[in-house]
């Protein structure tokens, strides 16, 4: 967060684009685990995330941010990957709670992945079990700053490093019957 | 040899009795002689019809006694037309029945004798000018018809024949009674003479005599409550016989009723009576036809219905209506003839003659089915087939007299006809085939020829009705010309 890019080096069009992106985050909340319960207070009148241009999106096609709220079982990971791949570039992931970082209390479970960023690129981790709405909003603000800096481009990164991600994903998901997307 | 109307009666009657003799020489003569006779009669018809259209009614005295005492034959444009029609139908039916499998060999002799007698009787009825003679001819028709009905000698045939006989006997009795009453009141049996003198009879007696005659001949003419014999007879008789009944015998009965009303008696209300009876007949018959499962019975009821419409036409009584009535009779003869002839191949091997057994026969018997369908199209009155014109004439005649209800009823009946005829057509063509190809009887070549003649005639008249309308006009004039008839018979011969 300390690294501030020289804004003058950015092209003005890019600057406007990123400013718009930053101020308009459509969130696809992937409500797994316990974290989903933290979203309603974040969005409603007490914390009102809409102040920051954050609003819910109904489908991955319209979404910018994939909000993963908690642990992921192998089964749900598969869906997350699919949803993520259905989103349109540029796209961001905010991972939510300890479980997404290192497995949290489910570190030795037979069916829960431990580190989300091995499977999909995560832009912002929000620590905590569970993080409060304030933390969530802080996470969003962090993401906005990252966007404004121009280094929130994990969609592209995912695309470039798809082999590595695929390898990891397929290690967990044994029966790989995901449809192929022509990238 | 001078051709005269006598040939109509003499030749077939003679032939009928000669056939058994020739049969001893060669069995084939049994089949050939009627053909020769009918061909000859057709020739006679053509000659006489030409003669009639040029010179007018031909009246012929038999046995030298002049009318009103002797027996005479009247070949007017009207009676001549019917006689020619009967001859023609006879010829067609002969062609058809030649080597018809079901009446072949042993019974063939019987069949042709009876058939010739039927024709003789029917033509006699039409041509004769003497009412007792007419009764005699009616008996000839009756006897041959009873026998032909029970031709197959099975149980149902015998029953049908018996019904026919029973009602026929009623008819004979009533007619004879009528003749006796008539003779006792005015002392003449010659029809022209009766026509001349009928005003001398007291009205009440005249009406009673008329009623006796109407009921008697109404049985032959399939008038409503008197036609119980018809469905059975049509369905049990051999195929050609059905055609002969509807084309020949029934026409004779109808002829007499027309004669009675138009020429013989001058009774008020008889025309209306004919209309009402015709309507009742036709409505009940068509409704019954709709509910039949037996093809032949359906055709029989349809035949009754057609005769009802003919009655209606003659009941209207204008020239146009008579033309329509005659046209209807002509159409009924050829179309119903075609339907009967073709249907007997359609239900050849089915003793119950069920409509449901026709499923898909259109594939197995394409030509016969096609001709049947043609007949059905024509009889429900679809243009461009002949049935349309006759119905149109009738409707125009009715409209002329502002009988709107009549038009409506006739057209409603036409819709009913559509329902039951098209049901059969659907069965024939648009259902899955049920019948095996071995089970059907392919028509013989002569049957095809005879049916095709009728079929071509239907189309030809349909496309160009002027083929027949001039004859019909003459016939209608002749029928309406009562004075001319009397004059022809009584005055011309006397001179």
């Amino acid at each position: 967060m300390n690294i501030v890019k020289d804004k003058k080096s950015q092209h003005i069009v890019d600057y406007i684009k990123e400013f718009a992106r930053k101020n308009s985050l459509f969130v696809m909340a992937y409500g797994t685990g316990c974290g989903a319960i933290e979203i309603p207070p974040t969005m409603t009148s007490r914390y009102d995330a809409e102040r920051f241009g954050i609003r819910g999106a109904a489908t991955p096609r319209q979404a910018d941010v994939l909000l993963i709220t908690g642990y992921l079982a192998v089964k749900t990971l598969k869906r997350v990957i699919r949803v993520y791949e259905q989103m349109q570039d540029p796209k961001y992931i905010i991972a939510f709670g300890s479980c997404t970082i290192n497995g949290g209390m489910y570190f030795d479970s037979y069916n829960t992945i431990n580190a989300l960023d091995r499977y999909v690129p995560v832009d912002v981790y929000i620590n905590g079990c569970m993080p409060r709405p304030e933390a969530v909003i802080e996470g969003f603000v962090a993401l906005q700053e990252k966007i404004q800096r121009g280094d929130a481009d994990n969609g592209k990164k995912y695309q470039e490093n798809i082999d590595w991600y695929r390898e990891n994903q397929m290690k967990v998901i044994k029966n790989w019957n995901m449809p192929d997307y022509n990238w | 040899m001078v051709i005269s109307p006598v040939h109509y009666i003499a030749v077939p009657l003679l032939a009928a009795f000669v056939i058994p003799l020739f049969a001893k020489l060669n069995r084939e003569f049994v089949r050939i002689i009627p053909g020769i006779v009918l061909l000859y009669l057709s020739y006679v018809s053509i000659v006489l019809m030409n003669q009639v259209s040029s010179t007018g009614t031909i009246s012929e005295v038999l046995a030298g006694w002049a009318p009103p005492f002797g027996i005479n034959l009247v070949f007017s444009a009207f009676s001549g037309f019917l006689a020619s029609l009967m001859t023609f139908m006879g010829l067609v039916i002969w062609i058809y029945s030649y080597r018809f499998k079901k009446i072949d060999d042993e019974p063939a002799l019987k069949f042709y004798v009876l058939f010739l007698m039927l024709i003789t009787g029917a033509i006699g009825i039409v041509l004769t000018g003497d009412i007792f003679n007419l009764f005699v001819f009616l008996e000839i028709v009756g006897i041959s018809a009873y026998s032909l009905t029970s031709f197959y000698r099975n149980r149902d045939g015998a029953e049908a024949g018996f019904k026919y006989l029973l009602l026929g006997a009623f008819a004979s009795t009533l007619i004879l009674l009528g003749i006796i009453l008539l003779y006792s009141s005015i002392g003449t049996l010659n029809m022209a003479d009766i026509a001349q003198k009928s005003h001398l009879i007291p009205t009440s007696l005249k009406v009673s005599i008329f009623i006796l005659f109407v009921v008697g001949f109404g049985i032959e003419a399939e008038m409503f409550p008197l036609n119980g014999w018809a469905p059975d007879a049509y369905s049990q008789a051999p195929g050609p016989v059905g055609a002969a009944f509807s084309g020949i015998a029934v026409k004779a009965g109808m002829y007499v009723i027309i004669r009675l009303i138009y020429t013989l008696f001058d009774i008020e209300g008889s025309f209306q009576f004919l209309i009402v009876m015709g309507l009742i007949t036709t409505i009940i018959a068509e409704v019954s036809a709709m509910k039949q499962t037996n093809l032949k019975r359906m055709l029989a009821y349809s035949s009754i219905g057609q005769m009802g419409i003919v009655m209606v036409a003659f009941g209207i009584g204008t020239r146009e209506a008579i033309i329509a009535g005659l046209f209807l009779m002509l159409n009924h003869a050829i179309i119903k003839g075609l339907l009967f002839l073709s249907s007997s191949y359609l239900v050849y091997n089915d003793d119950n003659k069920l409509i449901s057994s026709l499923s898909g026969l259109g594939k197995r018997l394409p030509l016969v089915s096609f001709l049947f369908a043609l007949g059905a199209f024509a009889i429900v009155g679809l243009p461009p087939f002949s049935g349309f014109w006759s119905r149109l004439y009738l409707l125009l005649a009715a409209a002329d007299k502002e009988l709107i209800y009549l038009i409506a009823i006739i057209l409603i009946i036409a819709v009913i006809e559509i329902v039951y005829y098209f049901r059969v057509i659907n069965k024939l063509y648009f259902k899955d085939i049920k019948v095996k190809s071995d089970d059907v009887q392919k028509p013989s070549i002569n049957a095809v020829i005879s049916m095709s003649i009728l079929g071509i005639l239907i189309i030809a008249i349909g496309i160009y009705p002027d083929l027949v309308t001039s004859y019909l006009g003459n016939a209608a004039d002749a029928l309406l010309d009562k004075a001319g008839y009397i004059e022809n018979v009584l005055v011309d011969i006397n001179n």
């Binding site: 970082i101 030795d108 479970s109 998901i173 029966n175 | -």
Partner: protein, 191 residues
């Protein structure tokens, strides 16, 4: 047995006498009966139809690996008597087949599917997808005690550096205190 347990004893004795089963009153409003595998349906039906135990509270399975048996528990509740009745039965661990009872309570279907997936118990005629919670599972059923969860997790899932101490809690405990791992099997066994 105090007088407070009249209803408990009544149902216990009824089942005992009717089905020739063992059982005891655990405490107030808790009764357990041990029945044979083929008697389970009769006992459940009896309790449901005759004694008003109309509510299926829960059903689960315990892996008695030492005895080579699975114990299936059907917890049913009578709202009238306010007694929870545990109907317990044991089936062979090597041939884990149990009668499908979801005809009695439809909600048993869910529990049976879970047991099928987690313990590998077969319920002939059970309707429902083979996959219940897991997808593409090709190991031994994960809830069986011979399945080494920690090992599996370590093998399969990437462990983020910094959690190297992640170990089996029991092993950690033993290492620190020197105690023996408590033998729960023996402790809570019926015998």
């Amino acid at each position: 047995m105090s007088n407070d347990l009249v209803l408990e004893n009544e149902i216990l004795n009824l089942i005992k006498s009717a089905f020739n089963a063992e059982g005891n009153v655990i405490k107030s409003r808790r009764v357990e009966v041990f029945v044979k595998k083929d008697q389970v349906s009769s006992v459940l039906l009896f309790a449901k139809e005759q004694r008003g135990y109309i509510h299926l509270s829960h059903s689960t399975c315990i892996d008695w690996i030492e005895e080579g048996e699975f114990e299936l528990i059907y917890s049913i509740l009578s709202p009238k008597d306010k007694i929870m009745l545990y109907v317990k039965t044991r089936i062979d661990r090597d041939n884990p087949v149990m009668e499908n009872l979801d005809g009695i309570w439809h909600q048993l279907n869910t529990y049976e599917r879970e047991m099928r997936e987690m313990y590998g118990i077969e319920f002939p005629g059970l309707i429902g997808d083979k996959e219940f919670c897991l997808e593409d599972w090709d190991e031994i059923p994960p809830m069986r005690r011979d399945f080494d969860t920690v090992e599996f997790a370590r093998k399969t899932f990437y462990q983020r550096p910094g959690r190297e101490d992640a170990k089996d809690v029991r092993k950690t405990l033993t290492e620190q205190s020197g105690e023996k791992i408590p033998d729960f099997a023996t402790k809570y066994s019926r015998e």
